[in-house]
Amino acid sequence: MIINHPLLGPRDSAEFVYLGDAAMIDRPNPETASPQDWHDYAYLRENPAGEHRELWFHEGGDRSWLVITRNTLTHEISKVEIARDVARKMGRSK
């Protein structure tokens, strides 16, 4: 596969390491989260047959974490974002 890196352009996916569902950015709030919240965060996945937002790490490149929107049926990649920007948009900070 080829991942169109927002900063570096098209790169072979062999340079990347896959983590999984981008929902992992959405770590529960330690102040308020229930054990159930932690379980769901760590263990439950949508696992869609279709568009999937997922985390890839450019280990063989610039060490950026990316959020990639990829179709799990066709492998077509429709969107690539810098994970740090996504995290901030989702309200993550310190």
Binding site: L7, A14, G60, D62, R63, S64
Partner: protein, 190 residues
Amino acid sequence: MSVHDLTPITALGATTAQADTVADLTCTEVTDLALASVAARLGQEKNCASTLGKLLGAPPPDAGKATMGTPYTAVWMGPEQWMLGADFGTHEDIATGLKAELGDAASVTEQTDAWTGFDLTGDGIEPVMELLSNINLRTLAPGDAQRTTIHHLGCFVICGDPHAFVRILGPRASAGSLHHAIMTAMKSAL
């Protein structure tokens, strides 16, 4: 400069740089390069960039680029992060020097011996490089720099002139494996 009595060895384990020629292409071990990484502190990106600009005599390179100035060269490593290089003889303690210039604007880390370098000079760079990495030599321009993988090793490939000179920086501990890969490719392709 230190006046210590310890004799350095090269990444390949010798006291002098290794050089090998196959056909019209020469691979030379780079031993006179001092390196330090510079990463802008959060909120200090502008200060970091301007100080680097002064040091480099040019703005810090964009993604995928390198600048070849004196005394400092620079390669883009990642967002707000660069690898600066200088002559080892005059800048062995490059990190301390850069930190003094950059202060709180950036985190500076000595990287000199994290890496080892090999320069490919002469004819036949494309057929050799296409056996080593997926970089597209045909579109590579002078001043391009890419991090890539060579035989499972994470490397930087810095392009001086796609037809005459590229520099490969690879992990120092694997210098032997990297050198073997390059030589094998040269014998195979040339």
